[in-house]
Each structure stands twice: as structure tokens, then as C-alpha cells.
Amino acid sequence: MTAELGHFALILALVLAIVQGVVPLIGAQRNNDAWMAVARPAAIGQFLFVSMAFACLMYAYVVSDFSVANVAQNSHSAKPLMYKFSAVWGNHEGSMVFWIWILAVYGLAVALFGRHLPDSLRARVLAIQALITVGFLLFSLATSNPFLRLDPAPFDGRDLNPLLQDPGLAFHPPLLYFGYVGLSVTFSFAVAALIEGRVDPAWARWVRPWTLLSWGTLTAGIALGSWWAYYELGWGGFWFWDPVENASFMPWLLATALLHSAIVAEKRDALKSWTILLAILAFALSLLGTFLVRSGLLTSVHSFASDPERGIFILGFLVLVVGGALALFAWRAPMLKGGGQFRPVSREGALVLNNLLLVVGCVTVFIGTLYPLVLDAFSGEKVSVGPPFFHSTFVWMMVPLLLLTAAGPLMAWKRADLPHVVRRLTIAFVAAAIIIVVTIAVRGGPWGAVVGLSIAAWLFTGVMVEFAGRVRLFKVPLGQSVRRALGIPRAAWGMTIAHAGVAVLVTGLVGASNWEEKVETVMSPGDVVSVGGYEFTMMSIGDIQGPNYTARQADFRVERNGNLVSVLQPEKRHYPVQNMPTTEAAIHSTWLADLYVVLGDPVGGASAVRIHHNPLVPWIWGGAAILVIASIVSLTDRRHRVGAPARRTRRAAPGADVAANAAGNAENARSKA
């Protein structure tokens, strides 16, 4: 009964989405308040219907209702409850309902928190959001209905792929989806602005929290997926430049660009049509990501389930949405008049360069990801583009970006004094030079690592220089600096934290990709292997029994200079329901490196093992965590905090900003006195 209820709720949601997609749009065009007012209650109703469908599907999983085909194929009665939940979005049909639910959540959020938006803009944003929902609901109902029954119902389910039964992966898709779908909101805002023919600083300010939210969740989702691949797949790697990984990375790159260009649109009323274009393309790439993952067109190690027919549907949808938006852009963008003027050497100029590098980097990843598809279509030749391609292109393109990241925030708006900026960065040059010398002395190379670490040092020092300047560190008494630091807007804090996080992330990436050590051998109990200055002794090997698997487990004693560091217990599991083995790597993390042990096949009484020493890998996860924290801090900025008093004044006049500036000036005057 619940399955039918869920199915019915989805159909109702579709009908409501069509109404929400059409009526407010016409209302906004004709300036009809009653028609525009349809949008808000419709968005709320939408959320209720989709939530009901989603809850019904969840319920079917929790009670293991195997008469529902989707549950029978992806769940099992003996599975832990948490993985019954995660199985809902661990398969294609369920993940689509989940995607639609997130769309509805965002629609609800715009309806609830967007009360201060101009009526016509809000109506249009919600209508476009609903039109996207219509596409996905049609897709779900027509090609991937999760509520189909199975008759007769099987006695038990086929279980979820054991690789997916993992806490890291239980949260990876939800975060990624929140990021992907969040870009639909910026897309809707962009299209609504094009219809209105008006983009002003207020628009940029309204879009910013949504961009931040999806950027933050996308960052967290990508990092979690990478972390999962690192410890669960047992290859010791964290990023493979696989098409599916690239599919999530490309929208991230454009969202990063959008985050920066929207600042120029907000502060200087410039780069407006460019910002709109980025918002459209970022969502286009997240749709493309879905298409690539779901169609199976690109062979990838991550394609769990695929079906070309569904791919065609998404491709058609993609062409319709992106083509429509770009046509609208071509028609309306020339009407958007540019505002503030600026010199090439200025904060705006630096942000333009930032955008240029991010977009060119994204294009490179795009070409590398889609080239095999194009070549196959035209010549029938099958090729793969592997990590070396991306290392010799994308990675080098990011070098100028990272160098710029230290300098950009030191530049003044409109026109910057370059020699002055270089003078302020003297200490960053010194730090980079010291790191070069130290790295060569300690590790002796390779030179890519030397360059990489010195860039990270340059960036981190540059960030600190900017922050120190902001709080006038050592120029005023320390107590006053602290007070100044507390008074800095959260958005500026977010920038400082994020840029520092990038420095940490780069350090981790450089260390992990240059200094990995790996030994593959056969060991029996009592054998000792030395890797990266640590001695690994195999103590014992035996069988253990888990809740829904059996496993072979080995005990390793890890010592350094005779002192016990850790005991590692890698496993090789076997899941009987799916007759599938998995590798559980054992990892000991110090602040500076990971010790990583993988168990292979048995060789007589001994076993094949692979032992890694992965320097600086913990910094990658640390850096990603700092980026996520930065996005949260920036989101709490009072400019876009929900219910902030600024909202009332914003509607009235741009006087709020004047008042804020006046307050700031008063503060400055006080601190000078």
C-alpha cells in the first residue's frame, strides 16, 4: 500500500510542479499578484508531496518490503539499519527520488527564506525551479519508477553492493546531490534575472548564499567520495581522474569561479552577464555529470548501474534546459549594462584572471573527460585519457591561480598599486624560498614536489599577510588587533580560512602524489617488512565472522625505532549474499603520513600484502575540511543571514549599505583615535 501511496504522491507532485512552473511565470509577466502568489504555497505543497513519496520508499526499505522491486534488488533483511537507509539513494531509481526531494527542499527554502525578494523575482525563480522538477519527475515516473511491484515477492533481497555499505558512502551521495541541486537555485536565479532583464548588486547578494551552500556541500561530497575510494577500494590512491570523479569536479570548478565573480557583481556592479553565464554553465555541468554517471556512456570504474535509454532522456533534458537558457542569455544578456570601471591591475582584474584560469582548467578537464566519447563516435577507436594527461595540463594551469590567490586579496578595488602588493608579499617570497631549501635538503626532490610545496608556503604566507594587514597586527596593540579580528565580516573570515585551506590541501596533494612508498610482497606470521622508516611485523592471520560477511584478518605490529606505533588489522571480506569479496585496508594516520596495509590473496599459509607509506595524505582531508568550515563561516555572514535586520532596510533603499559604511567608518575613527 505504501508503494502505491508513494507513486501517487509523485504524480501529484508532478501535477503541482506543472502548475508552479507555468502560473507564476505568466503572473510575473502580466504583473498579476494573485498568479504570482501561487508560487509559494505550491513550493510548500511540492515539498510535502515529494517528502511523502520519499518517506514511503524509505519505509519500504526499513521494513524490507521485498514486493517492491527496487527494495528487493538493493536491500536485504539482514542488513544493518543505517545501510537500509543509505540503500535508498545507493541505487538509480531511489537516487532520482532523492534528487527530486532535494530540489523540493531547495524550492521550500527559497519560498520560506526568500520573502524579502521582489515578488516577481521570487515567482520566476520558483517557477523555473518547478520546471526543472517537472523534468526530473517525468524522468523518474517514465523511466525509473522506484515503486514498481514484484509478483511474486522474493523471500529475501539481493542486497546492496557491499562496497557501498560504508559510512563514508552513506553520506557521500547526499552531500554531492545537495551540491549539484543547489546549483539549480543559482541557475533559476540567473534565468529569472535574464527574464527580468535586470541584474543589480542586490541580485548578486541574494544568489551568494545559494552558491556558497552548494559549493560547500559539493566540496564535502567530493572529499568524502575521495576519502571513501582511498580507504575502501584499497588501491592507496585518492583521486583517479575517472570520468565520474571529473563529473563532480567540473561543476565544483565553475561554482568556485561563480563564487568569485559574484563578488565583483555585488561589490562593483560589473561582470554581470559573465556571472549569469557561469551560473547557467555550472548547473549544466551538474546535469551533464548526472548524464555521464547514469548513462554508462563513459566506461568508468564507478559506474554501478547504467542504462542508455535513461541517458538519452537526461541528454534531451540537458539540451532543452541548457539550450533554452543559453538562447535566453544570447537574447537578453546584451541588455545588462555593465557598471563599475576598473583597471587590469586591480582586485576586479585579479578576480577576472581567477575566473579565466578556473574556466580554462574546467575546459581542460571537460576535453579530457569527453574526448574518448567523441573519438569513439567519429572513428570507432577506443581510448582512455588517464591521470598523466591531467597532471601535465590541469595541474600546471592551477599554478598561476595559486600564485594569484595570495596576491589578489591584497589588491585594491578599481586600481591597485602592484609594487606595493609585491612589497607586502616579501615575507611570502622568503617563506617560499625557505621551503625550497628545506625540501631539497630533507627529501632531495623531485622538483615538482619542491615547486608544489613552495607554492603552498607562498599562498599560506600571503593569506596571513592579508589577514595581519586587516587586523593591523603589530601596528596597533595586540588587544586592539583581536578586537578588529572579531569585527571582521564573516564573509572575509570565510575567504581567509578558505584560502588557508587551499594551501593545506595543496601541501597534502603534493606530498601524496610525489612521495608515496609502496611494497607488495608475501608475508607469513613473523615476517618483517620495512616501509617509509617503519617496521611492519605480521603477527598472525585468521578468520573472523561479521554480521553479514566472513573475513580473513591479519594483525600487524607497526614499530618505529623499536617503539610501538600501532596495531593494524586489514581484512579481506566475503559477502555471501552477493558472493562478493571486498578489501578493508587498515590505516594508521599520524599528522604527517598514513600507514596503510592491504591484505591480498592467501599463498599457502602466508598472504600477499601491500603496504603503503603515504606522506601528507591527512592534509588533504584536513584541507578539504577547512574549505567546508570556511563555507559555513561565510554563510553565517550577517548580510545573508536569514532574518537579519539588514533585510528590512534592503527592500527600502540601498541606505542599509550607507548606514553600514557609516558605522564602519565610525569604528575606524574610534580605532585610530
Binding site: 570601471q341 584572471l353 579565466l356 575546459v363 581542460t364 577506443k382 601535465s392 607488495e520 599457502g604
Partner: protein, 162 residues
């Protein structure tokens, strides 16, 4: 949109000039990226073949290749060191011996689809990487096509079950 053009003219020149600088910088960046991308393509594209494709062609021993097919039943042999494995990859029409040293992926099994990456030395493929898919029912699409062409296809129409 009917603004007076007075005063806009003067700024218009500057604006055009500025725009030219940015367009120029953009072009330069794109050009540089294109050079990087195409030179990287020359060195880093890895072509994919099935064992029967390889029968008809020859390659330099330093040419990096990918070979895909099914692990032929009864061909997997482990050597005395416990790490080196020999097996044959077949597409139904031809079969190619492969050797690999290291721990194989979890889903490596006889009869399963694999992709091996490495170098063709004479008639032996020396792999330095072996991929098996996460999904137990996975078969490389190219191999499925080949098996269908040979009339040896055993699966249903849907290669990958949902």
C-alpha cells in the same frame, strides 16, 4: 533603456580598450591551454583493444595499451612467488596471455570482465595495472559488442542490471 549617450562615448573608448585587454588575455590563456592539451594528448592517450584487434596489428614495445576481455576459464596460474599471476584474456574469437605482478582487484575472477593496462612484448602482454569493475555483472562494453558479433553473447539485452 533610452539613456542619453552624452558622456558614455568617452567612457566607451576606455571600455573598449579594457575589454580588448581582457579578451586578449583570455585568448592567450585559451591558446596556451590548447597547446598544453594537444601535446599532452600526444603522449598520454591509451588505446583500447580486444585480443582479436591485437592479432591484426603490431605495436612498438614501448606503446602503452589497454586490453579488455573476459578472464578465460582455467587459465589463471599463480607463480611460486605468490604475487605474479598469468592468465589469458579472451573476447571469444582470440585470446591473449597476460602477466601481472601484484595484488589483483577483489572482483578478478575467471569468466569475469577485466581491463589490463601495460605493454605488448611479443605475444605476451605485460600488465602493470588490472581493472575489474565494482559490479559483479560488469563486462567492458567493447567486449560485449565483440561477443555479440561473434554470436557468443549469453546475457540478456541489458548488460548491466539496475
Amino acid at each position: 533603456m533610452t539613456q542619453t549617450t552624452h558622456g558614455r562615448r568617452g567612457r566607451g573608448m576606455k571600455r573598449k580598450h579594457k575589454r580588448l585587454i581582457f579578451v586578449g588575455a583570455g585568448m592567450a590563456a585559451l591558446g596556451l591551454a590548447a597547446v598544453l592539451v594537444f601535446s599532452a594528448f600526444d603522449d598520454n592517450l591509451v588505446y583500447f583493444f580486444t585480443p582479436s584487434d591485437l592479432e591484426e596489428r603490431t605495436f612498438a614495445p614501448e606503446q602503452r595499451l589497454r586490453v579488455g576481455g573476459l578472464v578465460e576459464e582455467g587459465t589463471v596460474e599463480k607463480s611460486a612467488d605468490g604475487l605474479t599471476v598469468r592468465f589469458a584474456v579472451t573476447d571469444g574469437a582470440a585470446s591473449l596471455p597476460v602477466t601481472y605482478t601484484g595484488i589483483l582487484p577483489d572482483l578478478f575472477r575467471e569468466g569475469q570482465g577485466v581491463v589490463a593496462e601495460g605493454f605488448l612484448k611479443g605475444n605476451l602482454f605485460q600488465a602493470d595495472g588490472v581493472l575489474a569493475k565494482h559490479d559483479e555483472n560488469y563486462m567492458p562494453a567493447e567486449v560485449a559488442e565483440k561477443l555479440k558479433a561473434n554470436g557468443q553473447w549469453q546475457g540478456g539485452d541489458e548488460a548491466a542490471t539496475p
